[in-house]
């Protein structure tokens, strides 16, 4: 039977699948983006949804392992784990299923059969930081994180660097909500930030960010000019109808997933490697909706995009690098 299978494998379709975290495929964030990438890949290769390409949703962290395991054993040619929370489970499954090909987003797993996909969120955040620095009227801006982690720190530090680059005098308020899903906390933090005079808030806080939009819209409706900078996807819609979304830092997990799937299909599975996606691959960028961004700011963004791509400027990703960055800035 083995021989037969092998033979059939050649003309058998290439199958891809992913495991979401508890957010699900429509979290308006990286799960959704990854699934869009998979769908695009499926359409390009005429795959059938639900069998040739599909996703499994996890209801709790303990579901990651069985879900990954199931997909690998169902002979999917590459299985994505979306989010750094699956790091350990990916490792485990990779050990148990040495023949399976796995990929993880947002962290690095050093295994021969695991491809690690990471993004340079700090670079994208730097760009929106520039915009914030240019467009703040009060010289005060804010950053709200969900739960503190090195990943979210990349957003924070990139953003801070951008702001300081464009506007060294600007004051930056930072707060972590301790939660990705508490809109009322987002609302209260935004209330504090705006109340203390900030006019632009950048968030990397998932569902907690909803409260930030709510507060901004309320203020906008009462005639105050305040902005939110969205994250992960273009959050222009979230800002409607008052149009409070200044811009968004878009993280193209879809591009990454398509790219890695394509490579794998062509026999170049980047197992054991770290595939980095940054400005260079247009995998992090500012959102297509640009109507609220000033011409000057856009020009500035383009200027620095080039500098970063050319390697002239290194964007800090953690607190230490940021400290050093500030020193270079002073010189």
């Amino acid at each position: 039977a083995c021989g037969k299978d092998d033979k059939a494998a050649d003309d058998k379709k290439f199958k891809v699948a992913m495991v979401t975290d508890t957010g699900g495929v429509d979290d308006k964030s990286f799960n959704q983006s990854a699934w869009e990438g998979l769908q695009k890949f499926g359409a390009d290769n005429k795959l059938k949804s639900g069998s040739d390409f599909k996703y499994l949703q996890s209801n709790s962290p303990s579901d990651y392992a069985p879900n990954l395991n199931k997909l690998v054993r169902d002979k999917y040619d590459i299985v994505y784990g979306i989010g750094f929370l699956m790091e350990n489970d990916i490792k485990k499954v990779a050990d148990q299923q040495p023949k399976g090909k796995l990929a993880i987003v947002d962290t690095v797993v050093d295994k021969k059969n695991v491809a690690s996909i990471v993004f340079k969120e700090n670079e994208g955040s730097f760009l929106v930081g520039l915009i914030a620095g240019m467009q703040t009227k009060s010289n005060k801006v804010g950053f709200v994180g969900g739960v503190e982690s090195p990943l979210i720190k990349k957003f924070e530090n990139g953003f801070k660097a951008g702001v300081k680059m464009a506007n060294p005098k600007a004051e930056i308020m930072i707060q972590y909500a301790g939660d990705f899903n508490k809109a009322e906390k987002g609302l209260a933090i935004a209330n504090t930030f705006y109340g203390k005079g900030a006019d632009i808030i950048y968030h990397a806080a998932g569902g907690t960010g909803k409260g930030i939009f709510t507060e901004a819209k309320n203020r906008a409706k009462n005639g105050k000019k305040v902005w939110v900078i969205g994250v992960d996807r273009d959050q222009f819609e979230e800002g409607q109808p008052q149009g409070v979304t200044l811009t968004s830092m878009v993280k193209r997990v879809d591009i990454a997933v398509q790219q890695v799937s394509k490579d794998t299909k062509e026999g170049h599975f980047p197992g054991g490697k770290v595939v980095e996606f940054g400005l260079d691959k247009d995998a992090v960028s500012i959102a297509p909706h640009k109507e609220n961004v000033s011409k000057d700011a856009l020009a500035k963004v383009d200027e620095f995009k080039k500098k970063i791509k050319d390697g002239e400027l290194k964007v800090p990703k953690d607190d230490k690098e940021y400290e050093e960055f500030l020193k270079t800035l002073k010189k």
Binding site: G24, M173, A188, G207, N218, R219
Partner: protein, 320 residues
């Protein structure tokens, strides 16, 4: 930042986040005052939030514009009331253990609301609603020095609705015949029965009314805070409402006060990170602060609270 500025930040935020909890705890008060324990508040609130998001969305589609959230409130009130019926049937007519039935209600709400969301929108969450309830200055009152800034400037109308409803519920429970009957049924149903009061009917009405309040609480959360519904929109607020009800000693105004206290503690911990000195306190400590404060308040000056005597006990006619 000076002290007054801090208050001006903390108080409005507290009131905003308190409104859904106030309403839901009022639902709890109504239900438990009649003798039916309601652990299902979380579920009722969740279902209300779902219906709130759903009907605001459809309201927008149907061209109701700014009236959409208000229509969604009506829908959520009705839905909450209907959703409370299984709990009423189980715990009143079928003499089920009320805690069990309430827990079942929570599971049912979590399953059903997300299941229906997936069925209707083919997504794990509803679309963002465009028409919200918006903050605004309350005419005249917002001009009062200090208090105007704290309480009546850029405030949600719904917050005042919540406070007004708390007063109304207090009036109904403590000042009207209907309230007297609800309380009698929760304290000594047999006595009520001998006075010609229909225990079963009174309890049904109270539980269903309680569901309506909790449903409204959920819908207001969506309209004023989250802006859409997903599985994680209501995660624990119903239990906080339950705690507020007990904290408030099963009294409508007490429950309101407790909900405001939670809100205040919460916004203090959030704003605290932006206040000099407090800033130095580790984030984790500020995060647990509201809950620690609540426990301290309970221990220090609230102390003992007695539930209505018959709460939790199914009433059987003629049983001793």
């Amino acid at each position: 930042m000076d002290f007054l500025q801090i208050l001006a930040l903390i108080i409005p935020a507290a009131i905003v986040s308190a409104a859904p909890i106030i309403l839901t705890s009022l639902g709890g008060v109504l239900s438990e005052r009649s003798g039916v324990v309601n652990i299902g508040l979380e579920g009722l609130m969740m279902f209300g939030a779902f219906i709130g998001a759903l009907f605001t969305y459809y309201g927008q589609e149907w061209g109701l514009g700014a009236a959409s959230p208000w229509m969604s409130f009506v829908a959520a009130i009705v839905a909450g009331a209907i959703f409370a019926i299984p709990h009423a049937i189980a715990s009143i007519s079928l003499k089920a253990d009320q805690v069990v039935s309430g827990v079942a209600l929570n599971f049912l709400a979590a399953g059903l609301s997300v299941f229906l969301t997936k069925k209707i929108f083919d997504a794990g969450q509803t679309p963002d609603i465009q028409e919200r309830i918006n903050k605004g200055d309350i005419p005249f009152l917002s001009k009062i020095p200090l208090l105007g800034d704290w309480l009546f400037s850029s405030a949600y109308v719904t917050s005042f609705v919540a406070v007004a409803l708390a007063v109304i519920v207090w009036f109904v429970i403590y000042k009207t015949p209907f309230g007297l009957r609800i309380r009698s049924v929760g304290e000594h149903p047999m006595a009520a029965e001998t006075m010609g009061i229909n225990v079963i009917k009174t309890r049904y009405i109270s539980v269903i009314l309680g569901g309506a309040f909790a449903g409204l609480g959920g819908a207001i959360y969506v309209a004023t805070i989250s802006g859409n519904f997903s599985a994680s929109t209501i995660s624990g607020q119903g239990f906080m409402a339950l705690a507020a009800m007990i904290f408030g000693k099963w009294h409508p105004l007490g429950a309101m006060g407790a909900a405001l206290f939670f809100g205040l503690a919460q916004s203090l911990s959030i704003t605290g990170e932006q206040i000099p000195y407090l800033k130095e306190i580790p984030n984790a400590i500020l995060l647990v602060l509201p809950y620690v404060l609540t426990i301290l308040a309970l221990t220090g000056f609230v102390g003992r609270a007695d539930a209505p005597k018959a709460s939790g006990k199914p009433y059987e006619k003629g049983k001793r």
